[in-house]
């Protein structure tokens, strides 16, 4: 069994409560940091750990923290990104629902490192029942002296609040999230300035994913060097993977980065293999935005090496033969799944979620949805397959935020690896058009 740094105590009865969580060693990182470390020493440990952002982009967390403008006179903020809306991703929900105090603890330790006096957890509105769970955990932390004025008798004070959104994938993008937290539409901002310089209320701000912040807890407890020993190369530590689709055991799994993809799919410790004794057809390994890979490419890299669950190994081969770890939303499709239909659900999603600021994304995602809809319904044309690729190309790189890429990559990769299926769908339509014409003449 792999090491569990985040979910170790998840099955402990009552672990949602402060009392049990504390008994299991909870809040030790706050005690250690506030009583024996300077804020910059906490940041240094995070740097040494090699922790990379778990929200999708994989940016080194310690480095991000050092970018925070500490010379500014303005207040600094830590905002936790709990918007989790990338299709296939449900690990943050699992963590917050079952281990709310782990997130609260991580928020306190991280806020201390950054010198934030007020911090917010921005959570997607649909997770409203978790708002209650977090509010309760926060209340308990206040009651036990871990939040509020002079935490543990030190001169560090912190207020922590939960802020619900109201249904918008784009608010997971950090600048859209900040707009939303300011009470506005979630339109992403132009960068620079980056949030580290001008974020919430134009103040220096760090935005981190739920899992990233939770990982700070074991890092401070065991030390950055010890954390960095887990994993392979620049993929250190453990990662939560949300596994769904046509597998025997869907769920959230904490893996040590570096296990083979094949083991993750077939081991009973994780996905438990493909359901109904069927064969594997394709995998979307890191949430809807990353390139889809057919079965042969997901197990081995182009060089013939076993592919591992790491940032580097999944990306090996670039967009020709690789994909990305992304948010760890691992969607598995069996031999019966239609790639065209599945892609249609993604493209409809991105069209629905485009904020509408940039024309290539607003219009392009609509085109993608429309073309896929007619391919799926049997009204498509032969040219539609190339048209999909061309529209995707014309969105990519032409938008303020990466939602454009997120919408384009799944399309480009699906057509690249499963072109025949798209052509068949298009032929099906041509045939039916001919048939229709024939019928009309009778």
């Amino acid at each position: 069994m792999g090491k569990k740094l985040l979910l170790e105590h998840i099955n402990e009865p009552g672990i949602q409560s402060f009392e049990v969580y504390r008994k299991k060693g909870g809040y030790a990182s706050v005690e250690k940091a506030l009583k024996s470390m300077k804020p910059d020493e906490v940041t240094e440990e995070v740097k040494r750990s090699g922790l990379r952002g778990r929200g999708g982009a994989g940016f080194p967390t310690g480095m991000k923290w050092t970018f925070l403008d500490r010379r500014s006179e303005k207040p600094r903020y830590l905002v936790c990104n709990a918007d989790e809306s990338e299709p296939g991703t449900f690990k943050d929900r699992y963590l917050m629902e079952h281990l709310p105090h782990l997130l609260v603890e991580g928020m306190i330790t991280s806020s201390y490192a950054l010198g934030a006096k007020t911090s917010y957890i921005y959570i997607r509105g649909e997770y409203m029942y978790i708002v209650r769970i977090l509010e309760k955990a926060i209340e308990e932390a206040y009651a036990n002296g871990f939040l509020g004025k002079n935490i543990l008798g030190t001169d560090y004070s912190l207020d922590l609040y939960v802020h619900p959104g109201a249904g918008a994938y784009i608010c997971g993008e950090e600048t859209a999230l900040l707009e939303s937290l300011e009470g506005k539409r979630g339109n992403p901002r132009l960068k620079p300035p980056f949030p580290a310089i001008a974020g919430l209320y134009a103040c220096p701000t760090v935005v981190n994913n739920v899992e990233t912040i939770a990982a700070v807890v074991p890092i401070i407890n065991i030390g950055g060097d010890e954390y960095a020993k887990i994993g392979v190369g620049k993929s250190t530590g453990t990662k939560l993977i949300s596994a769904s689709g046509h597998i025997n055991k869907p769920g959230v799994y904490e893996i040590e980065l570096g296990i083979p993809v094949e083991e993750f799919i077939f081991s009973d410790e994780y996905c438990g293999g493909i359901w109904k004794d069927r064969r594997l057809k394709a995998v979307v390994a890191g949430g809807s935005s990353v390139p889809i890979l057919p079965a042969d490419l997901i197990f081995t890299t182009a060089k013939g090496e076993p592919r591992l669950m790491t940032y580097e190994s999944l990306a090996d081969g670039g967009f020709a033969t690789g994909t990305m770890l992304g948010s760890g939303g691992f969607i598995v499709m069996d031999e019966t799944a239609s790639i065209v239909e599945n892609l249609y659900t993604f493209s409809r999603f991105y069209h629905h979620e485009s904020c509408g600021q940039c024309s290539p994304c607003r219009e392009g995602t609509g085109w993608l949805e429309k073309i896929l809809h007619r391919l799926r319904e049997g009204h498509g044309k032969k040219e539609d397959v190339d048209l999909l690729v061309s529209v995707a190309k014309n969105i990519e790189g032409k938008t303020i935020c990466p939602l454009g890429e997120a919408a384009a990559w799944p399309v480009a990769s699906a057509v690249k690896h499963f072109r025949k299926e798209f052509e068949e769908a298009a032929a099906r339509l041509q045939l039916s058009a001919v048939q229709k014409a024939e019928l009309a003449t009778h």
């Binding site: 509105g125 409203m128 109201a166 249904g167 689709g245 869907p250 969607i331 599945n342 999603f349």
Partner: protein
């Protein structure tokens, strides 16, 4: 109820709204807009009329347009009346792979409505939504704050029956705010 009944929060809701506003720095009360709109939607029958939006604007001392543009952006805010129970079925990839189409078709059939419509008795509105973070327990639907997961048509029948008997308006909010 008289036509001209003044749009106003209950005393409790107003107290909650004040508490929410206090969570943001001086002068940044507009930050409270989304949480307060959730509160308003629960207070005023599950949707946000122009009058309700104007009231929320006055509470936060912002222009009505600042409220309208937010309400129309976010999918959880209803700017038209909805049935007592808003049934939101996820239809994105992982749910689709596990049979959400069948769930949607079954509900349509059972309630004799299309997606986006409200049943004749005003009890149910059916909506399809995108990934709600239940992909590992797909297919799923949300009604108010509750997630109903690993759905089968039998489970859906049971749920609709239960909701009909309970006859309560669904709400995303369940004591969102604690006293502090």
């Amino acid at each position: 109820m008289s036509e001209n009944k003044k749009i106003e929060f209950s005393i409790e809701a107003l107290a909650t709204a004040k508490k929410i506003m206090a969570r943001y720095p001086e002068g940044k009360q507009k930050s409270a807009l989304i949480p307060i709109l959730h509160l308003a939607q629960t207070e005023f029958n599950g949707w946000l009329s122009a009058e309700v939006m104007d009231y929320v604007a006055s509470l936060l001392s912002i222009k009505p347009i600042e409220v309208y543009e937010v309400v129309t952006f976010y999918s959880m805010f209803n700017s038209k009346p909805v049935g007592k129970c808003l049934i939101e079925v996820c239809q994105t990839s992982s749910c689709w792979l596990r049979g959400s189409d069948e769930i949607v078709a079954h509900i349509k059939n059972k309630l004799n409505i299309n997606v986006g419509e409200t049943s004749a008795d005003g009890m149910f509105t059916l909506k399809t939504v995108e990934c709600l973070g239940s992909c590992g327990t797909a297919p799923m639907l949300q009604c108010g704050a509750d997630f109903h997961e690993n759905l089968t048509v039998e489970k859906v029948d049971e749920l609709l029956e239960k909701l009909r008997n309970k006859n309560e308006r669904s709400s995303y909010l369940k004591s969102m705010i604690t006293d502090r």
